[in-house]
Structures are given as C-alpha cells and as structure tokens.
Subunit: 392 residues, 4 copies
C-alpha cells in the first residue's frame, strides 16, 4: 500500500467537497429537504452526512480538543453505523426542516476548515480515513442525483434538474460479441491505489468459455421487448420478478411514459422524447434478467465482467451510461476481512440479498471508477442508473 | 338569510388572508414544504389550497375572461373535491418542492388582487362563496398550526414555532357541575350570520336531565389518571380504544414525555415543563372516553353541550383551549341537505366514523367560533388541540 | 323484572343447545375447523365458545367443587372478555385442529349435563346468566351460518351448506311509504322479558315527521343501481365509502357474480341465479347509504325504525330476510349502565365506529327477535345478512 | 443417462407413494386441512398436489382417452406452474375444506391405479417424468413434516406428531477441522442416476485453501451464543439480519422457549427439554451467519461443502439432522439450461434472493439424498430443519 501525501490529498479534498456543493447548487432549500421514498435521502442530508463522516471518523479522533460542531448532528446525520450510536430513523429524513440548508452549508464550511487545517499534521492512518471519506462522498454524489431525480419524478410539474445536453446521439453501433477462453483468472483489486475493502482480496477464479456484448442494450432494443409482450409473459421472468411485475403493475422502465407520438423518458433534463440509440436506464434486476432471457442471452457474472473489462479494449459504454447488473450475488470474496472499527460497517454487513453491478454511470464521478469496483443493490431497485450488458 | 355587503366582505377578506400569511411567517421554505404524516399537510399547501378555493369557486365562475394563474395548480392544490377533477395524492403533498414558497405567495397575491378587483361587481351568490372561502381558510389556519406542531415534534431539535407566552397560569378553578332539566330543546344554527351546512337545520331534540362540568379537565387531573394506571386497565377503555393503546404503545398524551423532574409537553413554544393547571390537550376520543369513565363521569352529547353552552354563562374554557370530544357521532341533522355543486362536498360526505367536537381551541380564529359549530375527527386523532369537558 | 323458572329455562336450554348442533351437523370436521378471515370464526370455535360461556359464568361460579372440563379451553375459547384473562389470538382460531370436533362435542355434552343437573338449585342471579348464555348462543348460531357461508364462498367448488328451499318467490309487492308524525316517542326495551343491556333504558326521543318503506330493497332494484353506474359515481358515496369501493374494486354485492345469462348469487344453497324479487343481501353500510342517496331517499335512524316497527303493522320483511342498516351510530342510550362483572363486557365496550342494524335476518333464530334489538357492525362488514329499508 | 426400467420404477412408485400416506396417517382430517402461514401448506394439499403432478405431467400426456379425475383439482392443486394455467391462491390453501381428506385419498388411489396400469407401456420420456414426480413427492414428504410441525407449534396444546424416539444421545464429539488444499475442483452432478436440473452441468471451480468442521453446531454451543448476548450485538449480524432480529423480537431459535429449569424445544415429539448434544435446528441464514461470526469462523460455500463431502469421509452429520446453510446464493451453474416445458419451472425460476443449503435433514427421505443436491430457502426461513456447519 503506497504512502499518502497530505498536500495531494488536500487538493483532492477541496475538489471533491466543492463538487458536491456544485451538484446541490441548482436545488432550492425545499428541493434539498424533501425525501421521496425511504430508499432515497434528501440532498441536504447527503451534504450533512458526508460531513458527519469527516467530523466523526477524522476530527473526533485526531483533532486536539475536539468539540462537535453541533451535538445533535451526531444523531441526525449518522446513517447506518451502529457502532457510533443512535440513528435518526431513515424514512423521516425528509422531516428535518431544521437545520436549514444554510446551516448545513455552514457545517460543511466549518468542518472543511478544520480538516484542512489539521491535514498536514495527520498520521497515515488518518489520511487513509480522509481518503475513504472522499470516496464515500463520491458515492453520495451519485446518490444525490438519483434521489433528486426520483423526487422530481413525483412532481406533476416534472421539473428539470439541468439543461439538456447537446448529445449528438449517434445510432447505436451494431452489437458484437467478444469471446473469452476457459481457465483460471485473477479477480479483485490488485492493491495499487485506493479500493474499498469489498474489492479484495485478489484471488483466482475459474471461468468457463463465455462471450460479452460490445455495448449496452439500447432503448430501442428494450422497447422491442415491451412491444413483443415481455411484461406479460411469465415464462421470461424469475418467479419473484413476475410477482414484482404484477404487484407493481409494471409495464415499462421506471421513468418511461407513453405519449401520443411514442415513448417519453424522464431524466435529469426533464421529460423528453426517448432517445432510441442510448442505453436503456433504470431497470430492476428482474427486468434485466427477463430481457436477457428474451434475447436468448444472459447477464454476465461479475468475474466474467471484470475479466472482460480488464482485458478487452473493444468493450464500449463500460462506465459512461449505466451500472450493469451482473448475475452474481453480492457476497464476500474468499478470505474477505472487513476493516476494523466503525468504518468496517461500510460494506461487509450488506452482503446478502443484493446483486452486484459493475461499471459506472453517467452520474458516477470519473475519479471514482475502477475495474474492480463492486456496486450492489437489491433486485427491485430501479431509481439508480442501471442497465444491461448481455453475455452468453 | 341576510344580504352580504361587498365592502364589508372585502375588509374581512383582507384580514383573513393576511392572517394566514402572518401564521406562516415564522416558517422557512423548508418548514413550509414538509409533510409529517398523511393526515397533515405542508404549510405551503395550506397557503395554496385556500387560494385555489377562491380561484376555482369564485374567479373561474365569475371573472370575465378567466384564465388560471397556473394550469397545473388546479390538480396540485385540489383537496377532496371529486367534482372538480383529478387530485394530487394526499400523502405526497410534501414532495411538491415546486412551486416554491415564493411562487405560492405570488399566487396568493395575484388571486387576492383579482378577487378584490372583482368583489364590487359580484352577485350575492358569489359573495356567499367568498364568505365560505374565508371560513374555509380559517379552518386551514388552525390546521396549519396543528400540522406544523406535528412536524416540529418529529424533529429531535424540537424547534419552537413561537416564543412562550407569559401565561399567568392561575390554579385551575374547582370543578363545578351545572344541571339542566329534562325536556325538548332547540339545536342547530338559527340562521343569523354564516354557518356551515352541517350546522342545520335547527330542530327539536329531547334531552334527559344532565350535568356539565364548569371547566375542562386539567393536565394535573389527567396525570392522576396516568399515575393510577389508566393506560394499563382494559376495563376503562372501549375495545377499539384498548387495541389502539396496545398497538401504539400509548402511555400518555401525544406530546408528553417524562423528564427527570416530571412531565414535559411539546407545544407551539417548544418543549416545556407541563403546566399542571392548564387543560389537557391532544387526546384521542379513546383517551377522553377512558378518562371520563375513570372519573365516574362521561362525555356530553353534542346536543347537551350546545344547549349548555347556549344557556349557561357559568361554563368556562368553552373556546379558549381545546376542542371538546362529545359522545355524538358526526351524522346529519334531520332533513339535512348538502349545498349544491362542488362545495356540497364540503361536509356531508364525511358523516361516518367520526365523532363531533364542540367549542374551539387556542388555535381557532375567534371570528370562526359559533355555539352551533360542529367540528369532527376520527377517534384516533391526537394531533389536534383536543380535550375533555365532563358530563354526567 | 319477572322471576325466571328453572324448569322452563331447562327446556329452553335443551332447545337452543341442540339447535346449535343441528346447525353444525352438515359440516365435516374440516369445514368446522377452518377460518376464512379474522372477522369470522370456525364453526368448531362457535360450538366451544358458547359452551365456555356456561362453564365460565355459571359452572365456575355456582357449581360446588367446580373443576374445569379441560384447563386449556379457558384460554382457547375465550373471545373478548379481558376480565377473564388471556385470550387466544382471534386470527389464529383456524389453527386449532386440536381439540377435535368430536372432543368439542364431548365438551358440549359434559357441560350440558352439569348445567342441567345444577339448574334446579341455581339462584335467580345464576338463572339470569343461563338466560344470557342462551341469547349469546343464539347470536353465535347466526354467526356460525354467516361464517360458514363466507368460508364456502372462498372455495372454487362453491359447496352448498343446504338444499335450496322451494321458495315460491312471488313478485315483490309495490313499495309503499308509511308516514309518522313529529313528536316525542318512547324508545328502548320496556322491561318485559329478556333484553341485552344495550337496549335500555327506555327513554324519550324527539322525531321529526318521517316516512318508512313498506318492504326491503329488492335484488332487481339494486341491480338497477349497478346498471345505472352506481359504483362509478363518487357523488353518491360517503368519502370513506368511495375509498372502500376503490380499494376493494367493488362493483356489486359481496356474493354476486356475472354469468352469461345474468347475475348469480352465492348463498347457503350454493351458487344460484339471482332471485329478482327477493331482498338484496350482504351490503356494507356504504352501499346501503349510496343506494338510498341514488334512490332519492335515506336510511332510517334507529329510533325511527323502532317507532315504525312498534306502531305500524303494514311494514313487511321486518325480520324475515336481512338486518337493516340504520343511519344511527351504535352509542349508549341516555343513562346506559353496562352490567356488572365480566358479562358487562358484552355490549358497551363496542360502542364506537359501528352502525346499528335493526330487524332480523333469515339466519336469526325467531325466539331471538325483539323490536328493541340493537345489532351493530362496522360500516365495511358485508358477510352478514344485511339489507336496506328506505326512509325519507 | 441410463435407461429406466418400468418394473423397478413401479416398485419405487409404490414405496414413495405409500410412504407419503404413512407420514399423513397420524393426522386427523382437521390437522391435514389447516395452513399455519402462507409459506406452509396443509398436509392434504401436499397429498393432492403430488398426485396432481402425476395426473398432469404423466396421465394427461400419455394415457389414451385421458379424463381428469375431477376437473376442479387442476386449479386447486397446481402450485406454481404458470404454464399449466390458473392457480389457487397460495395463502388460501387452508380454506379448502372440500374436497375432504377421504376424497383426496381416493384421488391418490385412483391416480395410482392409472399410473401403475399405464407404467409398462410408458416410453422413456414418460418414465423420466414419473421418476421426477417421485423425487418431487419426496420433497413434499419433508415439507409435510415441517409444515405440520409449524401448525402444531401454533396450538397452545402443543400436540406431538409422534412418540419421542429413544435417542441414546451421546455427548457431541469434539469439533475437528478438516483442511482442503487450494485448486481447481469439479462440482455438480456427474450424470449417474437421477438429479434435478439445477445440480448441473458439472463444471470446474477454483477453491482457496479452506477448512470444514467435522460436525454440526450443537444446541449447547448455540445456547452459549445466546448467553453471550449474541442476539443483542449488532456487530455480529448482517444489516438485514439485525433488522430481522429487531422486527421479529427474536432472542432464540424458532421453537425454543425458556422454562424454569432451562431451555425447552418443540419438535415432532412435542415440547421437550433441549438436548444439549444434538445439532441446533430451525435457524435462519441470519442466525447461522451471526453464530459463525461470533465463533470466529464462517459458513462454507456450496462448492467447498460439496468438495469436502465428496472427498472427506471424516465429516459427520452430513445428512442426518439438518440442512446446512452455505454462504452461496442460489444461482445457476455455468451453462445451466432449465428442462423444457412446464417441468422446467421446477427450479430455475427461483434462482434469486435465496441461499443454498446442503446435506439433508432428519425429515429427508434417505433415497432422496445426493452430495450434489442443492436445497434453497430465503434467508429468513426458520421452519425447516436447518443448522450450521462451520468453515474457515
């Protein structure tokens, strides 16, 4: 493990922290306070919780004469760290109209000053926690966007978070299959640079011969699945997926709606005509699995995905559009050990009843991406930027 | 029915409308947007819905060349008027971060200008709708306070809506009983001045001899019920009330909590020591009924309450502190006819599975009070300012 | 209150107890064990609970050297008497495959022997409890039938409880209105013979002029309401009723279904063609109220119903077909006092959020009927034999 | 794949079918009809559904002039085969008091006669379906026992399904660890004899060095976990597991209860003193995982388990007491293909959000066991005979 440099880290700290504020800048105080479902959090909470992380794991342990910025925030902005004490109930985060957005911004500024002041004197152990906190904050940057998108989708006014980008949306390239030979491969983070604990240890895995698609499934291809009756044919679905389709009356992806002249999709730029050639987004694992079955293919395992991504430069859209559902359950790698202390609650304790997603999305900060990265969500999650890369 | 005068009504209009804004003044945009439970509404929604009422029932019908202030508001701020079309789902009112509080204030100002401009030319029928709209708005003034109080109670910071008033809280007067003779009495609104349709027709009712308490039950008296084990003795409770106590683990009124040195209660002035001599507040019908049974008394019927209030000047605290649960279900008076049109959905369609409350509370605008007034809530409601006047 | 004679009571005891067994005779052990919903109870449970009543309230108190038939039955077959101790959870009554139906029959026989042996030596107070137990058992006779009907309705085989009777179903007589003058009337049981505590005290009530229909609403008339779109028009429904219609997707009465050639209805004789001229059955309060509004009428109050039934011999179908929803909430009469002790839990504690039904149904034992009888159910109950008599 | 012999299969058919009836013999008609939770089925339903399988997949396809035994059974006793048409709702299986237990036994006898008559003339394809039906029935034999046990556990009488066996319960042997070297191993069914489709294809897998415990965790060892506060320490649990513990107020395994002199456990022989040296039973995946973490170990993967079981004769209690939770999610093996047609719905469509269990239990028919057998249940399931074999 390479030594961390305090100056370099301070630069990264300023960049990540200010990027979070830039993401929140288009939001009004009201936008930043509301919570549209228990799975999502208010933007204000993301702003505060990421700050709480630095205050709790860095300042409290390493700042001489530490005093909390505001004692009550310790409870209000803890997320799931049981070892750190009581938590505010997750479904009630939208009721925290106080502290105000301005007070939370002041909290951020105050903690930033203290962390940056302290940084030159921090030992390596503390710098590692700062680094972890920055990667943690980048995760919340993506969640801030997915959660705002969901909130805005609930508003009949269908507000846009940002202007539509001028995407010279070229036709999707023809889908090609890339083949990989059977054998033992190495999987997991190799130790150079930062990685979450769940990406290691690096280990051998045996792969059968397989093929992976060169790009993601497009909106037009997914629309074909819908038109072919995909949402009405139980044989295409996992049993639990079929129950989900019926219970939720699903007939299309989360943010799609039919208009007079075709499909529309709601996104960060508001409600727009569906872009046929762009990758389909916001699918549950059930939908991804059913589509793959309909297409005569399957989802890749995470080992297949990682080996292909690491060795095949011809694969496109690896991290540019959507996290890609794999057929692998989110479980510990052989000899996995969670980090010690409260930060050890970060990953390991969620290793059940979730599926691994690989790659990265349009909302993922580019410096947050790694081939070994293991994202994970429950099978019914659709509000993330999730899509399909086929295998066979 | 007396003729309405446009000038007088315009004065009342200005007073009521500005009072609503004064009530919302202490709230931040975030405070005004959040919804703490499906039964409550955001303050911003109250501000907008009361305006929607004037726009829909007055401007749309009587303003030449009417155009809506914003077409989408028609759906967003409709409450329960099926005849007026689609409604935004009630439990999602807190997700309406747009329009902003400022935009809603502009909506209010624009509608006020239009209504006041139109007022001198309005026919009696329209003036009656304006008058109804003002009484409707006064109801929402009280709800705005009860809903904000509930929202703030969910925040661990326990914010205060306003400064504590200097209440020279005198000891509660000794409770006295006032007796009323058996016989036929007249009940219901007598037609002079405004009344809701549910307060009439005035009609004869037969009352047996009864007695009514001179004041409300005090916090100290209710604390005695708790200390005597009132919440643990099923024989004191209606069967459904006992189920409610157990399902909700209730052991005291909604906003009470035990502190080291006794009871505290949360109110509009924040968390304070319980005032022993003030009337107990925030009780469900089940609690009021159980207390009365424990005290060897009962709740009055609404006819008993109205006859007593109308004829006995010795009764105190009739409207100053809490709505008083009666033992009468909320049902139509003999020969009740709902008003015609959409405003006829105002009262009649709620006449099932609710109980009548009489009097008025600390949050009721004084010009909104009448002896014949019939307030009503489900038996489990506790977030209103509700209390107990005993009868026997 | 007249003196009870032990011999006469013993004769009644034998008659009522054997009638219960006759009602259960067509049922297999499996039929008698299953519970189709929390509101319903297994027939075996009815057989046992009615026996538990005599064992607990008569034998345990008055039999020298009393020992329970089986100690566990004390918990298993208690229904809602908190004063008697722990209860088996109501929704799990269908899981009591032990004791067997044969064991419950043996329980009945043993308690019958002991009660009849004891009867000649019982004091008046005990004889009153026996009399109460018989009326209690008659209530369960009706419930046994309604609960079996619901159970059988859940079975795709649609089994019939009994052969269809040869009803020479004459055309419904023309509906006539009978008028009653305004004034003070006497309501409630007059003290001659048995009555439940909730039927008294007899007291004065003031009635406005009103009219009552000569017969119940027929299936054909109710079908007219359906065909006219009654289930799709919110203006006809109470707000809570409209929510119920939508949440339950109701489009017709509980046991109706459309067949190729018209309506069919499921009843104790199985699935049969709807009898147009017979009274409509199995309506909720919401449906009864909506039908009345559609028909330009209303439901009678319970005082109106009782006064009409007591004074007008021209009223038909008072007790022969269906309990008739009134517009009166189930509340205590003036000066009501519940009976002392555990049997005081019989009626009073249910006096909230239920509506009164008057009359009697095809499933009510004839000796159980009284003009002052107050039946009561929640507004959403449809599995009872409930119908409509209009007033205006 | 070896050829099936009709005579040998007929012998197996008679043995399996009569064993099912022997398992149901101690049950009354009531016992056989009740359903204690949606996950469980009535014994009568197991008797009928296993028969439906032969009627639908063998007789209907291969019997000349096939007519169903009873048309309605096609719906009533279908379980989850969407391709075969409508299904009776699973949670309502306990309401099928008709057909009676005797009628279901007659159904079994009639289908048995027809299958056995037909057997000598059946082609290999049909014999394979008969063989599949027998293995299917053996699965239901185990479920019949677990479901009856759950039903009886809900009855305060705590009935015993059978006499207690005279178990000369020797002290648990000292737990020993058996080590296995790193490398590529072969996993999955090798094709000799019957296997479910999910056990193949056989394929290579890479295993890191690991150790497996020689026996299962005992009741005494698990009691130690409880006494050490295992159910109160969130750090030991998966996040979802900790939510489960709190939501269900779990403090011990499903059928344990504290008595004056120690733990009691409910089982097929009724409520008995806990046998300290026997393997602990009825654990959820969450409990198994938490125990392993507390013990400084982990659960084996299914590949580890299978390789160990296939190669190490020193492992005890592989199939004699409890299915053993593995840390592997239930997912398809590489190149898995579900069987064609409706029987293809057997396994594959359940491959999500379940964990694999390996081995076999006291309730598993011995002829049903295979080293490659993949049992699977959701992580919260506790009513099966499930236990723990540690790995590290």
């Amino acid at each position: 493990m390479n030594e961390l440099d305090a100056d370099t880290l301070a630069t990264a700290y300023r960049a990540v922290r200010s990027h979070t504020e830039a993401l929140a800048a288009p939001l009004s105080a009201e936008d930043a306070c509301a919570q549209s479902m228990p799975d999502a959090s208010p933007a204000k909470w993301h702003l505060a919780h990421t700050t709480w992380f630095f205050e709790t794991f860095v300042l409290e342990r390493f700042e001489p004469g530490f005093a909390p910025h505001a004692a009550a925030y310790r409870v209000l902005f803890n997320s799931y760290y049981n070892a750190v004490g009581v938590k505010h109930p997750r479904p009630q985060r939208g009721l925290l109209t106080r502290p105000s957005l301005d007070e939370v911004r002041a909290y951020r500024a105050a903690v930033d000053r203290r962390v940056l002041t302290l940084m030159p004197r921090l030992p390596q152990e503390a710098l590692r926690l700062v680094e972890l906190g920055l990667h943690h904050e980048q995760q919340h940057q993506e969640l801030l966007l997915t959660d705002v998108l969901h909130l805005f989708s609930c508003n009949p006014l269908k507000p846009a978070y940002r202007e539509a980008e001028m995407s010279a949306s070229a036709p999707a390239s023809p889908l090609q299959w890339h083949a990989f030979e059977e054998g033992v491969v190495q999987i997991g983070h190799d130790g150079a640079g930062f990685a979450f604990d769940n990406e290691g240890p690096r280990h051998s895995a045996y792969l059968q011969r397989y093929e992976v698609a060169s790009r993601l499934v497009s909106n037009a291809e997914y629309a074909g699945f819908i038109e072919a009756g995909g949402y009405r044919e139980p044989a295409l679905w996992l049993s639990e997926g079929w129950d989900w389709v019926k219970a939720q009356s699903r007939e299309h992806p989360l943010y799609w709606q039919r208009a007079a002249n075709g499909w529309q999709a709601f996104g960060l730029s508001g409600l727009r005509e569906l872009q046929a050639h762009e990758p389909v987004l916001h699918l549950s694992y059930y939908e991804a699995d059913a589509y793959a079955r309909w297409a005569g293919a399957r989802l890749p395992t995470e080992a297949e995905w990682e080996h292909a991504a690491a060795t095949c430069p011809e694969l496109h859209q690896l991290t540019s559009h959507a996290w890609q559902w794999t057929s692998s359950a989110y479980l510990p790698y052989p000899d996995f050990r969670a980090s010690a202390g409260a930060v050890g609650e970060y990953n390991g304790k969620f290793m059940v009843n979730q599926m691994v997603l690989r790659g990265g999305s349009l909302a993922t900060p580019p410096t947050h991406l790694r081939t070994s990265y293991r994202n994970f969500f429950p099978t019914s999650a659709t509000w993330q930027f999730t899509g399909i890369r086929l295998a066979r």
